[in-house]
Subunit: 140 residues, 2 copies
DNA sequence: CCCTTATTGATAGTATTTTTCAATAAGGAT
DNA sequence: ATCCTTATTGAAAAATACTATCAATAAGGG
C-alpha cells in the first residue's frame, strides 16, 4: 500500500500540496525543516503556504509516511519514511541520511533495562550518526 | 569529578542560577522545557530570567551535564545527565524518565549498517519508551 | 577587601508554530 | 461530464519559542 492508498483509505484527500511534499521529501536525503520544505516548493513554482506544510507534516507523521530526525545539534528535520520498522543514519558533515532496516534483536537489552529500571519497555528511537560515502572521500 | 568541578576546571563560574538549575533538574525525572525550568525556579523564589535558562542549558549540554530527551510526540525536554555513556527510558504516560547504562554491544549491528548503507558509523542516539512502575500500577 | 570579567536580567528583536476563517478544490454522487 | 459536499487550503494575525544587545551584578582570584 503506497502513501496515496494509505491516506485515501483513511478518508484523506490526495491534494497537490501533499503530492508536492511527498515528492520533494522522497527526492531529498537531507532532513528538511518546515521552512525549508516551504521554500523549496515555492522555488519550484508551488503556491503552497507554510501553514499547510505544518499541517501536512503532522498528518503524514500520523501515518508514518514521513519521519522526524534529530541532528547532532538537536535540530529536527523531516525525511520520507521507509516502510515498516526501520532507522536512519545521518551524516555528521552533510546531514545526508540513509535508511537501514537491519534492526538488532533488542530482547536481551530490553530485559536488562526492565530489570534495572523497573519500567516496562515499549518501543524505541534509535538513530546513528556517521559519515556518508561522499564525505568519506572528501574528509578522510 | 562532579558538575561544579567540571565547570570550574574549564573556567566557568559556579553561579546561583546554575546551582538552582542543576538542583531542579536532578530532583526531577520528567524532562523539562526551558519555560518549565524558568517557571519552576521563579516559584521557588529565584529571580532568574528565562534567557539565562537558555544560556545555561547550552553550556550544561556542552559539558554533558544535562541531556536532551525527545518525547514520543517529538517535544524536547531536559534532564540531569548521568555520567559516561548512558541512555534514557521515558514513560509514555507521565513522561518520567530513568537512566540505564547497560548499553548493548552494537558492533555487530554497526557492521551490518556499514555494509548496507556504505556510511562509516560514529555514535548514536538511543532512547526507549515504556511504562514507569507507578503508571504500570495505575493503568494495567 | 578589591578588581577583573564572566554572568546576569531586562528589553527588544527575530524565528517558529498555531489559530482563525473565508475561498478553493478533491472526489463521490448524479 | 457536471454538481455538491466538505476536507483542505492560503492569508493574516496571534501566540509561542528562541536569540541578540547591553548596562548592572556577582564570582572568585589576588
Amino acid at each position: 500500500m503506497n502513501w496515496k492508498e494509505k491516506l485515501a483509505s483513511n478518508g484523506h484527500r490526495i491534494t497537490q500540496a501533499r503530492e508536492q511534499m511527498m515528492r520533494l521529501l522522497s527526492q531529498t536525503q537531507v532532513p528538511l525543516s518546515p521552512m525549508q520544505i516551504h521554500s523549496a516548493l515555492r522555488e519550484q513554482g508551488s503556491k503552497m503556504g507554510l501553514v499547510s506544510v505544518y499541517r501536512n507534516l503532522n498528518l503524514l507523521m500520523d501515518y508514518d509516511l514521513v519521519c522526524m530526525l534529530v541532528a547532532p545539534d538537536g535540530n529536527a528535520g523531516y525525511v520520507a519514511g521507509g516502510t515498516g520498522h526501520h532507522h536512519h543514519i545521518l551524516c555528521k558533515v552533510c546531514q545526508s541520511s540513509a535508511i537501514f532496516d537491519e534492526c538488532e534483536d533488542f530482547s536481551e537489552l530490553i530485559s536488562k533495562i526492565e530489570a534495572q529500571t523497573q519500567f516496562v519497555v515499549g518501543d524505541h528511537f534509535l538513530q546513528f550518526y556517521g559519515l556518508c560515502p561522499q564525505c568519506q572521500e572528501t574528509y578522510v
